[in-house]
C-alpha cells in the first residue's frame, strides 16, 4: 500500500531536483562565443585556408611533385611542374579550388617539403563561385609557416646551381665507386 506512494514521491522529487539543477544554470558561465564580435581562439594546427610557404632563404618550397594533388580526395589541387635555370623545380601554376576543398589536410601530410600548409584562417566566404579558385599568387606567402628552419634543397641530395652533390647538410661526399679497389 505504502510502496507505490513512496515510489511516486521519489519520482516527483527527482523531477523537482532536476528543475532546481537546471535553474542553477541561470548563473553559470555561458559557453557561447559571440563570433563576429569576439574572435574565438584558433589553434595553430587548425585546418583552414591553405597557403604555399617559402624556405628561410625566401625561395618557393614547392617542388611541384604533385603528391598533394594525388592525395587530395576531392581533386581540388591542380599544378604544372617547370624548372628554372639552376635546376630547381617549381610549379608553373598552382591552383586550389576552394569551393571543392574540404580542409582535410591530406595535402599537407603528403607534402615532402613542408610547402603546402593549412592555417587557422577560415573566413573565406565569397559571393561568386569563381572567386573561390585561388592561383599561386594568392596562395604563396612570404613566410615559412609552421616550419621555420626547413630548406629542402639544403638537406636533399639533388644538385642545383650553386650546390653540388655532397654539399648538403649531413651529407657525405659522393662515393667514387671505381676507387673502391681491393
Amino acid at each position: 500500500m505504502l510502496k507505490p506512494v513512496i515510489e511516486q514521491v521519489k519520482v516527483l522529487w527527482s523531477q523537482v531536483r532536476t528543475l532546481g539543477m537546471v535553474l542553477a544554470h541561470t548563473f553559470s558561465k555561458k559557453d557561447t562565443v559571440e563570433y563576429p564580435d569576439t574572435q574565438p581562439y584558433m589553434f595553430p594546427r587548425w585546418r583552414g585556408r591553405i597557403v604555399l610557404t617559402r624556405d628561410p632563404d625566401g625561395e618557393e618550397r614547392c617542388v611541384a611533385c604533385n603528391l598533394c594533388a594525388v592525395a587530395c580526395p576531392v581533386d581540388c589541387i591542380a599544378l604544372q611542374k617547370t624548372e628554372d635555370e639552376e635546376g630547381r623545380w617549381y610549379p608553373e601554376f598552382f591552383r586550389i579550388n576552394f569551393s571543392r576543398c574540404i580542409m582535410c589536410g591530406y595535402c599537407e601530410e603528403a607534402c615532402p617539403t613542408h610547402a603546402i600548409q593549412l592555417t587557422p584562417d577560415f573566413e573565406m566566404a565569397e559571393y561568386e563561385r569563381q572567386n573561390m579558385v585561388w592561383e599561386k599568387e594568392h596562395l604563396l606567402i612570404n613566410g615559412t609557416g609552421k616550419y621555420h628552419d626547413y630548406n629542402y634543397y639544403r638537406v636533399a641530395g639533388k644538385s642545383i646551381g650553386g650546390k653540388d652533390k655532397g654539399e648538403a647538410q649531413h651529407e657525405q661526399p659522393p662515393v667514387d665507386r671505381r676507387s673502391l679497389l681491393p
Partner: protein, 327 residues
C-alpha cells in the same frame, strides 16, 4: 465607451492586444530562457536584447509559402489552426486582469474556460486528421486521448477552489482570496492543475502529440507558413492562459502579496497580475528545459492512476473541512 471598466471597448482592446503581443513576445522569452539554462545566450542580435527577433520571425513566417497538401481534406485543414487561437483567446474573455480590467464577468467563468480548452482539443485533432498523414494521425490520436483524460482532473482539481470561494466567477474568486491565497489550502490542487495545464497546452514534457523524435512533428507535420504559425502562437497563448489561470485561481490574481500596496488600484493590479503570470510562464519554460518527455503509457497511467485519485482525494478533504467548519 472609453472608460476603464469591465467590457468597455478600450479595456477589451487593451486586453486582446496585450494578450496577443505578450504571447508573440513569449517566443523570444522562451528561446532566451532556454538558451540561458542550456549555457547559451539565445537570440540577442535583432534589436535591444534580441527583442526584435519576434518581428523578424513574423516577417519570415508571413513570407512562407502557404501550402495545402493535395492529399489533405482542404476545408478542415484550413479551419483547424484558427480554432485553437480563437478558442484560447475566447477563454481570456473571462480572465480578470485587475480591478475593472477584463472583458466580461461570467457567472460560469471557470466552466467557460474549461469548455474553451476542450474546444482547443478539436483544433489539434482535426488538424492531424485532415492532414491525411500517418504521423499527423498518430499525433492527433495522442492529442485527443491526452487532452480528454487530463481535462477530467483539471476540472476536478479546480472544484476545491470553487467550493472554498462558492462561485464560478473568476473575479469573485480573486476577491474571495483577500484573506489568504488558495495556494495554501489547495496546494495539491495547484500541483494537479499545473501538471494538467501543461498537458492541456501540450507543451514539453507532455508534448507527445508533436513528439519530434518519434512522429516527425505530430499533428502539424503537414502545416507550413502562417497556418503553422497559428498553431504555434495558439500554443503560446495557451501557456499564457494557463499561467494567468494559475495566478488567478491560486495566487490571488491582482492582489498584492503580503498586502503591500493598494488592493483596488488598476495599475498595481495589472503589475501584480503580469508579474505572477510571467513567473509561471518562466516555470513552463523551465519545465521544458529540464524534464524529459514520458512514454505515452506512462503519461496515461500517471494521469489516471495518480492525478485523478489525488484530485478526488483533495476534493473529498476540502469538502470535509468546509463541512466541519460549518457554513
Amino acid at each position: 465607451m472609453f472608460e476603464i471598466e469591465v467590457g468597455s471597448a478600450l479595456v477589451m482592446g487593451m486586453v486582446l492586444g496585450g494578450v496577443i503581443l505578450i504571447s508573440a513576445w513569449l517566443i523570444w522569452l522562451e528561446r532566451r530562457l532556454l538558451g540561458i539554462w542550456q549555457d547559451r545566450l539565445g537570440p540577442n542580435r535583432v534589436g535591444p536584447l534580441g527583442l526584435g527577433q519576434v518581428i523578424a520571425d513574423m516577417f519570415k513566417i508571413f513570407t512562407k509559402e502557404d501550402w495545402v497538401p493535395p492529399f489533405a481534406d482542404k476545408l478542415v485543414f484550413m479551419v483547424a489552426p484558427p480554432i485553437i487561437m480563437t478558442s484560447i483567446l475566447l477563454s481570456f474573455a473571462v480572465v480578470p486582469i485587475a480591478p475593472n480590467i477584463g472583458i466580461i464577468d461570467l457567472n460560469i467563468g471557470l466552466l467557460w474556460v474549461l469548455a474553451m480548452a476542450s474546444l482547443a482539443a478539436y483544433s489539434v485533432m482535426l488538424g492531424g486528421l485532415a492532414s491525411n498523414n500517418k504521423y499527423a494521425l498518430l499525433g492527433s490520436l495522442r492529442a485527443a486521448a491526452q487532452m480528454v483524460s487530463y481535462e477530467v482532473f483539471m476540472g476536478i482539481s479546480l472544484l476545491g477552489v470553487v467550493m472554498l470561494s462558492g462561485t464560478f466567477n473568476l473575479r469573485e474568486i480573486v476577491e474571495s482570496q483577500q484573506d489568504g491565497w488558495y495556494i495554501l489550502p489547495q496546494f495539491v490542487a495547484f500541483i494537479v492543475f499545473a501538471i494538467a495545464s501543461v498537458a492541456e497546452s501540450h507543451r514539453l514534457p507532455f508534448d507527445l502529440p508533436e513528439a519530434e523524435q518519434e512522429i516527425v512533428a505530430g499533428f502539424h507535420t503537414e502545416y507550413a507558413g502562417m497556418k503553422f504559425g497559428m498553431f504555434f502562437v495558439g500554443e503560446y497563448i495557451g501557456v499564457l492562459l494557463a499561467s494567468a489561470l494559475m495566478s488567478v485561481l491560486f495566487f490571488g490574481g491582482w492582489l498584492p502579496p503580503f498586502g503591500i500596496g493598494p488592493e483596488d488600484s488598476v495599475v498595481a493590479g495589472v503589475f501584480w497580475m503580469l508579474l505572477k503570470t510571467m513567473v509561471f510562464v518562466c516555470f513552463f519554460v523551465l519545465m521544458r528545459a529540464a524534464i524529459p518527455r514520458p512514454r505515452y503509457d506512462q503519461l496515461m497511467s500517471y494521469g489516471w492512476l495518480v492525478l485523478l485519485p489525488l484530485s478526488l482525494l483533495n476534493l473529498l478533504i476540502t469538502g470535509a473541512v468546509i463541512l466541519s467548519r460549518g457554513v
